[in-house]
């Protein structure tokens, strides 16, 4: 009889996570993430939180910012799309494009909070970098209005722009020594990393030259191909749109260069030692799969990854096993009210232990596939965050 090595059964193409031995207990052997060390290290000036939507990323950003402030840092937290309640938990009625001071911070540090307003940020860039008459022309262009206010994707460019602005201000005025950034809630969260490249390909692309050709004297560029393309675009969109786009691009031409330079500078800044990326996830298959994507993308872009935060982890208080609890529950009299209540408690406990084991298994798989990524697990809280005390509590849990 031939003994087939067990491994070959799975085939070599399976990811290494598939070969992890079945769980024996809830321990997860990833290196621990030292959150306080990260916050206390003055060399760290930017912390970027990224992850899928719905995992508590914005709340984690706010809690980290608060904890850093209360450990003596002067912090600005840039949130992208916070729930109203989160703004309220920081004592701010509305968050807007201006950093606002959060009161009630303990100790010598400070915390400012703001929310990215992409249209406002875009308008400000135009106003700051174009002469007044030209700025007015751009701001009134229908293509610009659509681009700056309603189209998806603009958020990522503007997040990059705003981060660059905040960093420049922190260096210049010394108002902050740490900026905590939340990222847009989807896979496009990392699109801001692509912003410099996209702007470059836009500027260096022949399309811009083509669009600009009529305003710059077509003689130099015009060829049969160009004529065909302008005719096609005009046919598809109508001549009006082409004129609007041409006016927009012509007016914007000088600004685009600045955008690209700043986006490139911010990108380079993100790669430096002073930046730390935190990937936030929940202990669920989808969220951890997204987290793996983020980790791999950040690594590929040579971005400094500090570690993984796993939110809302189930942590039973009692150490009784699920089997013992269920066996015990079955021995109690369901007709006796006290006994049935206690049986209920035992079943509640058994369910938690099971969930805990499932979550631990998922985290172990992640750790096996990404052995160098430190992580920290944040226990799930029974209530939502409503005030600074709630954020503080999450900060404590983050610090382990």
């Amino acid at each position: 009889m031939v003994t087939v090595p067990r491994r070959t059964k799975y085939g070599p193409q399976r990811p290494p996570t598939m070969r992890v031995a079945p769980p024996r207990g809830p321990t997860v052997s990833a290196p621990d993430l030292d959150v306080d060390g990260l916050l206390d290290d003055r060399a760290n000036r930017i912390i970027v939180c990224c992850g899928a939507g719905g995992v508590g990323k914005t709340t984690a950003s706010a809690a980290l910012a608060l904890r850093a402030a209360e450990r003596g840092r002067r912090v600005c937290v840039l949130t992208i799309d916070p729930a109203r309640r989160l703004a309220q938990s920081m004592g701010l009625r509305e968050l807007d494009n201006m950093p606002r001071e959060v009161s009630g911070i303990r100790g010598t540090g400070s915390l400012d909070a703001m929310m990215l307003d992409m249209k406002r940020t875009f308008d400000e860039v135009v106003e700051a970098h174009a002469p007044p008459a030209k700025a007015e022309q751009i701001l009134a262009n229908p293509f610009y209005i659509a681009l700056s206010s309603s189209f998806a994707g603009t958020q990522e460019y503007m997040a990059m722009e705003k981060l660059g602005q905040l960093h420049a201000e922190s260096v210049r005025a010394g108002r902050w020594d740490l900026i905590v950034v939340d990222t847009p809630p989807s896979r496009s969260a990392l699109d801001f990393l692509d912003a410099p490249e996209r702007l470059s390909s836009l500027l260096d692309g022949r399309f811009i030259k083509l669009v600009l050709a009529p305003t710059r004297g077509p003689a130099r560029l015009l060829s049969a191909g160009v004529g065909l393309v302008t005719a096609t675009v005009s046919k598809l969109l109508g001549a009006q749109v082409l004129r609007d786009v041409q006016a927009f691009v012509a007016a914007f031409d000088t600004l685009f260069g600045g955008f690209r330079q700043r986006a490139e500078a911010t990108y380079a800044l993100l790669q430096t030692r002073g930046t730390a990326f935190l990937v936030v996830a929940a202990a669920e298959p989808d969220a951890l799969r997204e987290a793996a994507y983020f980790v791999e993308r950040l690594t590929a872009d040579q971005m400094p990854l500090a570690g993984l935060v796993v939110n809302r982890v189930t942590t039973p208080a009692a150490s009784l096993s699920a089997e013992e609890a269920l066996a015990g529950a079955s021995r109690l009299d369901p007709h006796d009210s006290t006994q049935s209540a206690v049986a209920g408690l035992l079943r509640v406990h058994a369910e938690r232990v099971r969930v805990q084991h499932r979550e631990a298994r998922l985290r172990r798989r992640f750790a096996a596939a990404h052995p160098t990524v430190s992580s920290v697990a944040v226990p799930s809280l029974p209530s939502d965050v409503h005030d600074l005390a709630g954020l503080r509590r999450i900060g404590e849990l983050l610090a382990g």
């Binding site: 969109l237 009006q240 150490s319 006994q339 209540a341």
Partner: protein
């Protein structure tokens, strides 16, 4: 499975499923597609975010830009799936509507395709919704509709109104021409009685708030709100009387300790305190859940609840969810 209750209502053609991240939007879009196919319908399930969530859900290889069968049902129905990709959609679109063989290639050479699909923000959404529109009205050579229904696994709640409404923006930019005409036709479908936008939520404060905001936004944009799908609803091992007794604090530690001994468990005061703390925590969560359920009562839309699947969603669980959707009247 039962048939739809109200035969006078026009059959929905386009089901848009949105939801906050982590609420199970893709899972429920898949379950809905199965539920529709169960009755013998041919259903196209589309995703637009490049996540390959459908492939993972149905446990098939990553989907190309091509309609692939992912499930067949005993009633002769079928679910096909399509991962819509902006660039491929644009080239296909140009070819189909304008027969732009040579000009299409010229556009590509000049970087226009690249510009349209990756650089110009928003145009991607135009293309994605355009493809959905095309599939919804496609007919076979004998003149019948190819699909009875389209289920769209759409972008998240925070972005949904903007996504579906993107063609209004286009219509605002392009005053005339075929694109304008196309944009108007797409918006007519999006706003028609044959379209419904379903919102997936969980019973958590943020998710429910986002759902309420999303409904307001959709209605403001004139887009039809379908069902609110409350997902991941957790049951409780505690019956009503146990909940009342524990909630009122009328169960004393000593009686718990005695009951644990009776259950054959070596009960220390510490274990008793821990179990009671877990019970309290559990009751707190139940209360939070029912408060959010209460908040959803104010919504002028039918609400459907779907259970949390403890062992993870496999094909069997997907069929159970599909059945739950049908039983509660989502069509």
């Amino acid at each position: 499975m039962p048939s739809p209750a109200d035969p006078t209502r026009p059959r929905l053609r386009l089901h848009v499923v949105t939801g906050k991240g982590g609420t199970g939007k893709t899972t429920l879009a898949g379950a809905l597609a199965l539920a529709l196919a169960w009755d013998g319908e041919r259903v196209l399930l589309c995703e637009v975010e490049g996540r390959q969530g459908i492939a993972q859900l149905f446990d098939v290889a990553p989907l190309p830009y091509e309609e692939r069968t992912v499930a067949v049902t005993p009633g002769g129905g079928e679910v096909r799936a399509l991962a819509i990709d902006g660039e491929a959609a644009l080239l296909e679109y140009l070819q189909m509507y304008y027969r732009l063989g040579r000009a299409g290639r010229a556009l590509d050479r000049f970087g226009v395709i690249d510009f349209a699909t990756t650089i110009a923000p928003g145009l991607r959404d135009v293309l994605l919704t355009g493809k959905v529109y095309e599939a919804a009205r496609r007919r076979n050579p004998s003149g019948d509709l190819v699909y009875d229904a389209i289920v769209l696994d759409a972008p998240p709640t925070g972005r949904i109104a903007r996504f579906l409404n993107v063609n209004t923006e286009v219509a605002g930019l392009a005053k005339v021409g075929p694109i304008r005409h196309q944009a108007d036709s797409i918006m007519a479908l999006m706003r028609s009685r044959r379209t419904a936008v379903h919102l997936v939520t969980v019973l958590e404060e943020m998710s429910v708030q986002e759902t309420l905001d999303g409904i307001t936004e959709l209605r403001r944009a004139g887009l039809p709100v379908g069902h609110v799908l409350v997902n991941l609803v957790r049951g409780s091992p505690l019956d009503d009387s146990a909940r009342t007794a524990l909630g009122a604090g009328s169960v004393a530690a000593l009686t718990v300790e005695a009951a644990l001994h009776k259950a054959g468990i070596d009960a220390t005061p510490q274990l008793v305190a821990q179990l009671m703390a877990e019970g309290e925590d559990h009751l707190g969560r139940l209360q939070l859940q029912s408060a959010q359920r209460q908040a959803l009562l104010g919504v002028d839309a039918p609400v459907i609840e779907l259970p949390f699947v403890a062992h993870g969603v496999d094909l069997g669980a997907l069929h159970d969810l599909a059945e739950a959707l049908t039983e509660q009247g989502l069509w």
